[in-house]
Amino acid sequence: SQQGEEDPQALSIQEGENATMNCSYKTSINNLQWYRQNSGRGLVHLILIRSNEREKHSGRLRVTLDTSKKSSSLLITASRAADTASYFCATAGGGSNYKLTFGKGTLLTVNP
């Protein structure tokens, strides 16, 4: 298995609904980050949660971290068509000071 696995692989919802994406990882971490990528574009940092934090909010984003289960979730509330993108979790740590290990991502489609 790979570090940083998201599920579902794809999620399709209607505008206004909430979207929840999950991420699991294998090794110890210093922090876990979520990134967004529009098709063919670069990655944009959304939120970082440290290993000693359990929940963090940023605008319509809510991230939780459960280090005992080695899992995290990203909730996007009141989704918009512009939220359509791929979302990746990435972990820092596991013996590395510099490397981020990315998951395969969740492709979110928000239908207007």
Binding site: Q33, R41, G42, H45, L48, F88, S96, N97, Y98, F102
Partner: protein, 113 residues
Amino acid sequence: EPEVTQTPSHQVTQMGQEVILRCVPISNHLYFYWYRQILGQKVEFLVSFYNNEISEKSEIFDDQFSVERPDGSNFTLKIRSTKLEDSAMYFCASNGQGPGELFFGEGSRLTVL
């Protein structure tokens, strides 16, 4: 807002040719990175660079790859003899501290024929 810029946006090359991908990180950042993303796959770490030397590299970053910061602004990735499997989107990133938020460029798409 400061951003990481990458050139070229797309490069097509023949197998065996040398390629240099260029990046201008955010000016006050100290840590620089290259990642790659093969179409439809995960974003993979290649190398990190701090204080004018490689701080960490992955198994992908073999002798065919090298990085350089030739002046105070540019950060380059060189692939000496490209292979078909080097075809990917290459992302440069930078940040002010090692394990924190990364700022990514828009990527350079490399196609090896």
